[in-house]
Amino acid sequence: MAAFKYVGLSPPCPDAFAKASGELRYATDLRLAGMSYACLLTSPHAHARIDSIDARRALQVSGVIGVYSHEDAPATRYCRYRIVPGQAGCVDDESLFAVTARFVGDRIAAVVATSPQAAREGVRRIEVGYTPLPAVLSAETALEPDAAHIHAGGNLLHRFDHATGDAPVAPADAVRTCTRVSTQMLHHAAIEPHTCLANFDASGRLTVWSPCQSVYGARTVVADLLGLAYNKVRIVKVPMGGSFGGKQEFILEPVTAYLAMRTGRPVCLTLDREACIRSTMVRAQQRSDVRSTVGADGLILDLEVDTLLAAGAYASSSPDYSEAMAHKLTRLYRVGRYHHRGRVAYTNTPVAGGMRGWGAPDIATCAEIHLDQVASRLGLDPLEIRLRNLVHPGDIDPLTGHSVGEAWVRRCLARGAEAFGWRERVGLPAGTGRIRRAVGLACGAHKNGIFSDAFPEATTMTLKMNEDGSLDLNASIHEVGAGSAVTLQTIIAEELDVAPQMISTREADSESTPYDFGCFGSRLTYFCGAAARALAAKMRARLIEAAAELLAVASENLCAAGGRVVPLGGGDSGLSYAQIVQAARMRYARDMIVTHTHRGTSNPGSYCVQFAEVEVDVLTGLVRVNEVLTVVDIGRAINRQMVEGQCRGAIQSGIGSALCEEVTIDGAGRTGAGGFKNYHLINAADMPPVRVLLVEHDGDEGPYGAKSVGEIAVVPTAATIVNAVNRALGTRLATLPLTPDRILAALGDRAPSGSREPACG
């Protein structure tokens, strides 16, 4: 393993003090002269025709500037998820304001006023005439032949059928098992609510300040919708108080931009928590039937998955998201045959979209709960069945034909089992009293960036060195709070051997930072990090080349070290970077600036294995997670503290999805009232201690071997917890979340009809 000077250390993010002192300005903290505030009126009906909108009483409210709805807004349909024009898989089915309300929370109208209070009051006074239509609230009912159509083309939004391999002839002692696993709608729950600010100035230029994950993606969607040239639309990424995928799609940017254009004033739109839960997007509700044939030796001969996913009222990313679910298991396990069928249905429920892990936690939850059931039928240790099937480095994913790369998941499992004491603890009795205790484990696979045969992976960055040797990185960074900036700083620092603090970074601004797709798809460290490394290498070559000319020596005899270019054999006759920059400019009129467009050609697997111990109170059904161990095939930790931070945060989210987080809807399609009062995040009191183990190695295209972490870290968590609970109770719970109600129902014959674990369809 090479020795590093900066890689693997933990310098804080450049903006940490600004955050700790309250100085950092998030979108809701920005104040522009003449700023006005928007408030949305959303549908109280799951499905309804809008017959009339009477805004007269709203317009009488002092401070109200205007009321806007489909009656005056463009009817153009767009896809909030689209990153590039013409992107395959994007369905244009959403408009600024609904003509037909398709879920409780659908945008009907907006009021712009001089104060948030007046805007809210205006919204209360709009009178809308609705004719309720039959609503379909689940994917199952949506696909029934007589179901009401949510969009003109019917409710089946997308379907796929991916198969690879031939099932070997199953020996007589092979077991066939089927498990139906359901995962619930989740709220991303960034603590910063959804917010956006826009201004349309007198020169006809639109500026949008948004805590978004893709300024260029937002630009194409907003500009196309409003009929503006791309260079008349400027999207500025502002500090973001968390996203987890919830701010990846362009939910508020189009409507806020439209309102700014219509009013000619800066408009700020901020949703309250209830609206964030109901009217932005959720992780999809889905259920998968997982069927396997597994030999007595534990080898998976055949794995079939049938997924039904509820897209909600608009397509958003659901078609692609469902496809992503089909592309995880073959990079995790060697299976004889894999067959995944999927259907995605429109439903009159909140819009489903991308969330941390993008399909990987969903499918891992299904497969890993299933695998524990198989192991128990075979009398195998859950650890053992996984060790027998996990991929090896260099395996080819049979679905894509691409290598899984340096897939060190087996090492993760082995090291984790050792550190957790799995073999000693797995056999311990759960107890017979009120509190039952047991351990569980699960594995997960995800990806590194967006390279595939169907989508390119590329980014452009510019690095400029100043006369004092300091550097400015110009790249479209979308800091989500996970340390993008400090990661890129560290890589460049390592490559040029300068302190990370010498490198300034800035956030994405479509007017002035170079093109990048955005911060999603686990591409930042693995791919953008590689780009930054190549960029820095270019700068180093340019510095050496200039120094060679200045010193009149051959560049092969020079190297960069300690912020200087020096002769290879040592000696002090070199030049500092500052001297080179100054001299190159004055003598050769040459600037030390490099631009690099990087192209990705691989997408290896990222892996995570988790272990947990839980205690279940069989009287109240409450689960307490005592401890979690997470092991990540990180390749290389660029910033150890940030990597660990991603791991810990992911566990908080994953435990919530296993036990208590759920966006519930009632029989009329309404989400529960209240925001965080009814959507329960794990808090500090219930958060268990988490140990993080990182498996490091070289290889792949990531910088110094680094792979992604933010998404993979959450992939196995829910399954780990569920498996531990099932082991503690001897149950086969597979409908998430494992609420106390579900746990008690599973424990006895006290189940009201319908609450038993459903069988495979």
Partner: protein, 156 residues
């Protein structure tokens, strides 16, 4: 109506609506935008400020209720231009990711350390249970509070 109170050590006098929430007066009338709003329902703690040394949700308090009282907000935490012990430990120990929960966390932690000099991990967890964080998994925050407490207590 007129509100008179002390904020971060300075006397403040400001016109408010009788039904204005404290958070709105702080953020809008006084431009103290370090106090964040994450839920407006007393659940997330991002809006935490100290009234006479007690942590409260500024989204649940009427501005009028702080008449004559002394407030501390995140803007009043740093000593001069530098981070105080809590802030520094938050920064150094990875307790800050997106930072949106951070002001509220720091204020709850400040209130705790004003009351208890060397709180146990359990006391810290309980004191921070009303501050939600989606990024860090809490542990670095808890460790930062404990470390700051140790530091402030000085060598035993």
């Amino acid at each position: 109506m007129r509100l008179n109170c002390i904020i971060n050590g300075a006397a403040v006098s400001v016109d408010i609506d009788a039904d204005a929430r404290l958070i709105d007066v702080l953020r809008d009338a006084l431009a103290l935008t370090g106090t964040k709003e994450g839920c407006a329902e007393g659940e997330c703690g991002a809006c935490t400020v100290l009234i006479d040394g007690l942590a409260v949700n500024s989204c649940l308090v009427l501005a009028a209720q702080v008449e004559g009282r002394s407030l501390l907000t995140i803007e009043g935490l740093a000593s001069g231009d530098g981070a105080n012990a809590l802030q520094r430990n938050f920064i150094e120990r990875g307790a800050i990711q997106c930072g949106f929960c951070t002001p509220g966390m720091l204020m709850s932690a400040t209130a705790l350390l004003m009351r208890v000099q060397q709180p146990s991990r359990e006391e810290i967890r309980r004191a921070l249970a009303g501050n939600l964080c989606r990024c860090t998994g809490y542990e670095p925050i808890i460790e930062a509070v404990a470390a700051a407490a140790d530091e402030m207590a000085g060598p035993a």
